[in-house]
């Protein structure tokens, strides 16, 4: 499977579902992606099996983290012209609000790109971008 071709095709027709479908875990939690001009937004639609806290109910913190990690690696794949998915080195997650049983959105920002390692800042929100439910910093290795 040539990821580079899939990414190029997705950029061309604006449909990223084929790209996401290549990653089984992304399909399991239900990641979606949409592009607006030069920007890209990731969406995790409300899904029963993603719940962690049955009382609120709220999305499992690990799912929020996993969604942010996948979004960051797809973002690098889409915009850094690498032939392979970058490898995660570390991720630091701050949970600011409960991720309720609602649609969740993620936005990524490349902070630093070296020849081998990239640093990405990830923001996740539900109600408004100004009220993030979680923030993350992650390092990825290109190899």
């Amino acid at each position: 499977m040539d990821l580079r071709n899939i990414v190029a095709r997705a950029h061309e027709n604006g449909d990223y579902s084929e790209l996401i479908a290549t990653i089984p875990y992304a399909v399991t939690i239900g990641v979606e992606c949409e592009r607006f001009g030069d920007e890209v937004l990731f969406k995790l639609p409300r899904k029963k099996s993603n719940i962690g806290n049955p009382i609120l109910p709220a999305i499992h913190g690990g799912v929020i983290g996993g969604f942010m990690e996948i979004s960051a690696s797809l973002y690098l794949l889409m915009f850094q012209d690498t032939p392979k998915l970058p490898k995660i080195v570390d991720i630091s997650l701050d949970y600011l609000r409960a991720g309720l049983d609602k649609d969740t959105y993620v936005e990524c920002k490349l902070t630093r790109q070296g020849s081998r390692v990239a640093n990405v800042i990830v923001t996740a929100w539900q109600k408004s971008r100004d009220e993030p439910i979680a923030l993350a910093r992650a390092h990825f290795l290109f190899s």
Binding site: Y25, K48, N50, P54, G62, V89, D90, S92
Partner: protein
């Protein structure tokens, strides 16, 4: 350390109430005071790299978050839901496809407001970890957790809606 069947039962009921853990098949295998081991079975659903079959980091994060968040059950007298404040995960090497991953969490400090944990994810032996994680959890107090849920986790009977606190 010996496996504590009472603690294991509490953790089993708690992890069993988390839909995402059911989805991924995460289950407790060992519980002792301040220590807990959970198992994540290998499955196609958690693959991150389709070329190699390697598990996605997100599934490891969910395993470690659950293990770190549930080990508080092995550290506290009364069950209380503790939301995650932060989680820092280092991925040391890719998990070998086809084999389960274990996460051993330790609750190393409990204060009135905060619980500090660390966790190691490994496959064959914990001397060669797949990932490591440190986390902090907020204590919201047992009273903030609905009584029927608490009783379900602790394995207590609900007597005609009469709460334990109510009867004291």
């Amino acid at each position: 350390m010996k496996n504590d069947p009472v603690l294991l039962g509490k953790v089993e009921r708690f992890v069993g109430s988390l839909a995402q853990c059911g989805e991924l098949g995460i289950k407790p295998v060992f519980a002792a005071p301040n220590e807990l081991i959970l198992e994540l079975p290998y499955s196609k659903a958690i693959i991150g790299n389709p070329d190699t079959g390697v598990i996605h980091g997100g599934a490891i994060t969910t395993l470690m978050d659950t293990s770190s968040g549930s080990v508080v059950i092995c550290g506290l007298e009364e069950f209380e839901l503790c939301p995650t404040l932060d989680l820092r995960v280092d991925y040391m090497h890719a998990a070998e496809p086809g084999k389960p991953v274990f996460a051993k969490a330790t609750c190393y400090k409990i204060t009135r407001n905060i619980i500090f944990t660390r966790c190691l994810a490994y496959q064959e032996t914990d001397e060669e970890p797949v990932a490591q994680c440190v986390a902090t959890f907020m204590r919201i107090g047992a009273e903030a957790t609905p009584l029927p849920f608490r009783q379900m986790i602790m394995g207590e009977e609900i007597v005609d809606g009469l709460s334990k606190e109510g009867s004291v």
